[in-house]
Symmetry: C2
Subunit: 211 residues, 2 copies
């Protein structure tokens, strides 16, 4: 089964929001017989600089439906990024046609701007939650979740939460046992780092994720 | 204080090994008054495709000493990547001149190929540990560590362990409190994902990291 994943980026995007999920999908390809294909797209096409100034090649946003999943990545400019009409329509029509439409971190602002989160529960990076709620009052913002699935619209919390969301998508595509194998391949180490420093990660006070 | 970080990549490199640490450094820049600068370099320069086929722009490996830290990223081709004489000399001279020379995941093979790990303790991705040991018998391979610092040579375990190592570098540069602030900004969620699925991550059976 081939699954085509499209990552939508824009100037100053957060590369980790793309590479984290992509790395998880790759492990499925290389070790567990999956066939994920990837494209990085932008409104303009061409080279796009991430927030660190690294340059990544992108294709211009193509036609709707040529993929299974579209991922809106986050970045320090996500909340002020002005989606043009074509991009808004791309996200909206993708959702309407039942593609999986996903945001990582404050990429939720892009989904909200396309009207996809109105009346839906959604999560984002904790630092942007208040801003998302005030800009888009119809969204049911919930930051006590690592990710939230509402039909075919999936939102993830900040940064590495995109990896968790990818694991959920893998579970959706290939079942729980493959997703667990991928998880095992990683070092779950930011938690360990924190523990070793007597530092209490924010998630310890939060509820565990629900779909 | 400006710190220049160079990431060394090659065809089919793992983008997460670059973007994970880069994301952590960026947070220091944007929130805590740091001045990390980044370059992505390769032996050839030009566009390099990562393991997922994404294209990132690189500069050709420049002169030794024009940076503070050089990071050898991992990837499925790292253990068979043939470093040319110039690249070997670049790593070796960087180490000799006291730059921080770092590997993430199986990027340790590059450091080993440059002779930097002989007689030193080093770690890598658990799946590559046996291969590293058999190819480079003088290396003291230890996979019960998330990262290992031996003088100015730092090695990290697989994938997200690069983020932990970045936190250590940040601690080295800006102190523990800044590193903790960066850690707090992340969702430490792969562990949560695992717990929620009654899945025991590999690190629970391992020792906590030491420097």
């Amino acid at each position: 089964m081939t699954r085509k994943i499209i990552f939508f980026v824009y100037p100053e995007f957060e590369l980790l929001d793309l590479s984290g999920p992509c790395s998880a999908f790759n492990l499925v390809n290389e070790l567990y017989g999956g066939h994920y294909e990837f494209s990085v797209v932008s409104a303009t096409g061409g080279a796009i600089l991430d927030r660190a100034g690294l340059s990544i090649a992108t294709e211009k946003l193509g036609k709707v439906g040529d993929y299974d999943t579209v991922v809106a990545v986050g970045g320090p400019t996500a909340h002020v990024y002005g989606l043009n009409a074509l991009t808004k329509a791309f996200f909206a029509e993708s959702a309407l046609r039942g593609m999986r439409v996903v945001s990582v971190c404050n990429g939720a602002f892009l989904l909200a701007a396309a009207g996809l989160l109105d009346g839906r529960r959604a999560t984002t990076h904790w630092r942007y939650a208040g801003l998302l709620q005030s800009h888009y009052p119809k969204v049911l913002v919930d930051i006590d979740r690592i990710f939230i699935k509402q039909g075919n619209i999936w939102t993830a919390a900040g940064l590495t939460a995109g990896i968790d969301l990818a694991l959920m998508l893998i579970e959706d595509d290939f079942g729980s046992s493959v997703a667990k194998c991928v998880a095992k391949d990683w070092w779950f180490t930011t938690a360990v780092w924190a523990v070793n420093r007597n530092f209490r990660p924010s998630w310890t006070s939060r509820q565990l994720p629900v779909g």
